[in-house]
């Protein structure tokens, strides 16, 4: 067993002298998960994890080794195994000349209350409080989940980088079920950040519970939306998820390099309406997707991906930046030290427009407004996407009308981006968790109210 210090990175570097590039991540995580169902404590779990993951690049091929065993022997064995696989493999055609500007920093966490120092019974209290406040009259079932996970990272490479920092992603999610005849309405809301336990004040946790229950109760009597083509208005939550899923993933440079993105070869080209600007910014203080360094030890940077409808850049790892002749922008994230850093988003949003929110439905004769986000996915290679809202409201003659349930929309990324014709003035954010290649990382999505013309809405 060894302690986390710069000596670890130096030892690793001495083992990979004859590689083109080598880097390593050490991590130590403590986590707590609490689940309360209808006021009953369903489970309380504590977790502890540690390990390392290392990469060696030689002759254009990467070898990756990871282990939960933090011993000198395991480290040496992982290096040896990575080398042996590289040597055993046929030569690659692509050379990956990675050159980094070395950084050395020990970055302290900037939270007020370290979640690891909070008693489990206090965390349970937060969960019970939220659950209790969500059990309004008419609610048939509730489920509240509190989770926190704090990881101490040490990231370094054989070109001199060595940074240590701490990531944290506390989150409280409250789900409310309301029975309505033969159907059940389900709404989930959450409260999360990249900081400490201070987020969970009594007022904030109560508000989450009451808001989610109120939304679910408003859906009583709602019918499924009738499928077809409509003008639609997306609330900030749906706008954020659209830009994250449908566009953001396609801007991840590893997918571009793999030929699996509709944005391949489109730098400098028009990809959407002139109204549209798309930003990924991990430096925004306090958001769940924020961080200071990525898992390659590159300083986090605000990236403008789309400006006035024109594609300006991708989200890079060190490798993709080297191959595509771009500057690294701190977008390489790994879920844990046991997984490899891949290009990811952080806090992704559509920039504000100039429309007054109240007017955005005004010239929609028949449409659907989408509120909240349930789930969605995209195929970045073809641009096909699908998103489901928590609920919808019909728009009739410019006014919000009856509530509808199970509202979903589908389309092709670039086609829909070109159909945006109004953006509200205020950007709002929503926290979430994003999955890619089996890795889940905390993110935030956002944007203003957005109007899109002529989109396929699914229904029954």
């Amino acid at each position: 067993m060894f302690s986390f210090d710069e000596g670890l990175v130096d030892r690793f570097s001495s083992l990979v002298l004859d590689s083109d590039f080598g880097d390593i991540r050490f991590g130590r995580t403590q986590s707590v998960t609490i689940e309360v169902n209808n006021g009953e404590v369903r489970s309380v779990r504590r977790g502890s994890a540690e390990g390392f993951g290392l990469r060696i690049c030689s002759g254009g091929i990467w070898g990756f080794g990871a282990s939960t065993s933090l011993t000198q022997e395991s480290l040496a064995e992982a290096v040896k195994q990575a080398y042996s696989m590289i040597r055993a493999s046929p030569p690659a055609r692509v050379k990956r000349g990675i050159s980094v500007r070395p950084v050395r920093e020990k970055r302290p966490p900037d939270w007020r209350v370290d979640p690891r120092l909070v008693d489990t019974s206090d965390k349970l209290g937060v969960c019970l409080q939220a659950d209790s406040s969500s059990r309004l009259e008419g609610v048939s079932s509730t489920l509240s989940v509190y989770g926190d996970s704090v990881t101490e990272w040490l990231v370094g490479n054989n070109q001199g980088t060595c940074v240590s920092y701490t990531t944290s992603s506390p989150r409280l999610a409250v789900t409310v079920y309301v029975k309505d005849g033969s159907t059940t309405h389900v709404i989930t809301e959450s409260l999360g950040s990249n900081g400490g336990f201070e987020l969970f004040s009594e007022e904030a946790t109560t508000r989450v519970g009451v808001e989610v229950a109120s939304k679910a109760l408003r859906l009583v009597g709602a019918h499924p939306v009738k499928g077809g083509k409509y003008d639609v208005v997306l609330d900030p939550a749906m706008t954020g998820v659209y830009i994250h899923e449908a566009f953001g993933h396609a801007s991840e440079a590893d997918l571009v390099m793999a030929g699996a993105s509709i944005l391949e070869g489109k730098l400098g080209s028009k990809v959407g309406s002139e109204l549209v600007g798309v930003v990924d910014d991990p430096t925004i203080s306090g958001l769940r997707g924020s961080y200071t360094y990525d898992q390659e030890g590159v300083r986090a940077t605000k990236s403008v991906i789309v400006e006035r409808g024109v594609l300006r850049g991708y989200l890079h790892t060190l490798e993709s930046a080297a191959l595509l002749d771009a500057e690294p922008n701190g977008a390489a994230r790994a879920m844990s030290p046991l997984t490899e850093p891949i290009a990811r988003m952080s806090n992704t949003y559509i920039a504000a427009g100039d429309y007054v929110e109240e007017d955005i439905c005004s010239d929609v004769r028949l449409g659907v407004a989408f509120f909240g986000f349930q789930y969605g996915y995209v195929d970045p290679g073809s641009g096909k996407f699908m998103f489901k809202a928590q609920y919808g409201r019909m728009i009739r003659d410019g006014e919000l009308a009856e509530y509808v349930r199970d509202a979903a929309l589908t389309g092709s990324t670039l086609d829909v981006l070109g159909r945006i014709d109004a953006l509200g003035r205020e950007v709002r954010f929503m926290d979430g968790t994003c999955g890619k290649n089996g890795q889940w990382v905390p993110v935030t999505t956002g944007g203003p109210f957005t109007r899109v013309r002529g989109v396929v809405v699914g229904g029954q």
Binding site: A88, V94, H185, S382
Partner: protein
């Protein structure tokens, strides 16, 4: 560290703490290799050891998970014990498994550990090369993974068990391009024996599907027939199996609640759990709570025969555990071994030939609302069908149906089954589905 069932039994029985304990230890070694744009890009090897300790004391449950486990496993017992005092669940099960286990499922881990990663890479690259340079093919990405998992468990009732399982999988993602038109498709294959993985066939299927999706168009909005591919059938039935989880029913979020012994599907549908299927990496002799797994009917002649339980949900619902306890990275829930649907008659082409107007759905990533069963699903890969023949690939098209209506509206079950992600399923045909498009 080496852990066996005898050492775990000694640990839990000799804890000296006034509580019941269950220890679940697992060791995983996984190797993957990735080919990107036809070129070998990456090898990776992961070794992960994890232990989960559950402590039952005075009606409360405390759970701790350590990865890697500490050298002194006893300290985990103490952590879990103290957790029950601080904030343990007050809604816990009352006991751990108490019946001795009879069976084990072992496979050839030794041969797996000796696998030469370089040789696997050569086989994959040869398969990729077969299709590189084919017309319209823009890129081929592939990933092969293999490894083993060893699980050991024991509890204070004296129940203990061990199993070893191998897994192998291969997936290919192919992108096709014609001018500005781009389409992509993926295919996966899995087995418990590396020699059985069909690299070339899997890539070939993805190439065919990807090219077939070029020139996609939307359709008008209508109510018609949907032919689900075996993979799409498996994906949708997996959401039905999830809804049968006693845990989900207790949480009030299952569209299958209150439906046991009722007619929930067309009489044509026969679905069961089989704990042993030749070549499946999902075969297991006991679950994560040390209960024997069991082959059992789930839907027979359209009637729902059973829910799927771990010890907790079985107790709460007054039923017997079904051997489906599952300890995941985040959750204590339920899981299944192999889900098998009986085959009917006819290949997909034959089923399509009976359709007057509808969709051949090859893939969707959507799942129904777990509480209501309402499904709005994007056609990720699929074709518009008219008068018994395929007309064009689809984009910007959704199908909308309640999953219970879908099950009851099955009018045909095909004969060619495919095994994927633990589901051995045939194609099925469903009538009366709302299809929404832009045209």
């Amino acid at each position: 560290m080496w852990v066996d069932s005898d050492s775990l039994l000694r640990l839990v029985k000799g804890s000296g703490l006034d509580a019941e304990f269950e220890v679940h230890y697992s060791e995983l070694k996984a190797t993957t290799l990735e080919v990107e744009k036809n070129v070998l890009k990456r090898f990776s090897v992961r070794r992960i050891e994890t232990a989960v300790v559950r402590c039952l004391r005075a009606g409360k449950l405390g759970v701790v998970r350590f990865s890697p486990p500490p050298k002194e496993l006893r300290s985990m017992l103490e952590h879990a014990y103290h957790l029950t005092a601080a904030a343990g669940s007050s809604d816990a099960q009352t006991h751990f498994a108490d019946k001795p286990l009879k069976s084990r499922v072992d496979s050839s881990v030794a041969s797996m550990m000796e696998t030469d990663a370089g040789e696997v890479a050569k086989r994959v690259l040869e398969a990729v090369k077969t299709y590189t340079g084919e017309p319209l093919i823009h890129s081929i990405n592939a990933e092969a993974g293999y490894g083993y998992r060893r699980v050991v468990g024991a509890n204070t009732n004296g129940v203990s068990g061990e199993w070893l399982g191998c897994f192998e999988n291969f997936s290919a993602e192919v992108s096709s391009k014609r001018g500005e038109d781009q389409a992509s498709a993926s295919k996966s294959h899995e087995a418990s024996d590396l020699g059985a993985l069909r690299f070339e066939d899997t890539i070939g299927e993805a190439v065919k599907l990807s090219r077939g999706m070029l020139g996609a168009a939307s359709t008008s909005t209508f109510t018609g027939t949907v032919v689900l591919s075996p993979e799409a059938t498996g994906a949708l039935l997996s959401s039905v199996v999830e809804a049968l989880s006693g845990i989900e029913i207790l949480k009030g979020r299952s569209f299958m609640a209150g439906k046991k012994a009722m007619q929930v599907a067309s009489p044509l549908l026969r679905m069961r759990e089989e704990v042993r299927v030749d070549g499946s990496p999902y075969n297991r002799g006991f679950d994560d709570e040390l209960i024997e797994t069991a082959t059992k009917p789930i839907i027979e002649g359209g009637e729902l025969k059973t829910y799927i339980h771990n010890i907790y949900s079985a107790e709460k619902m007054g039923e017997a555990p079904t051997g489906n306890g599952f300890i995941g990275p985040q959750d204590l829930g339920v899981g299944t071994t192999n889900i098998v649907v009986d085959a009917g008659k006819g290949a997909v082409d034959e089923l399509i030939s009976h359709v007057r107007r509808g969709v051949y759905l090859i893939r969707t990533g959507d799942r129904p609302n777990p509480a209501s069963g309402d499904l709005s699903a994007m056609v990720s890969a699929g074709y518009y069908v008219e008068e018994g023949s395929i007309k064009h690939p689809l984009k910007e098209t959704m199908i909308g149906v309640n999953i219970l209506d879908l099950l009851r509206s099955i009018v045909e079950v095909g004969g060619e089954r495919v095994m994927l992600w633990g589901y051995l399923t045939p194609p099925i045909v469903v009538d009366g589905v709302k299809i929404s498009g832009r045209a």
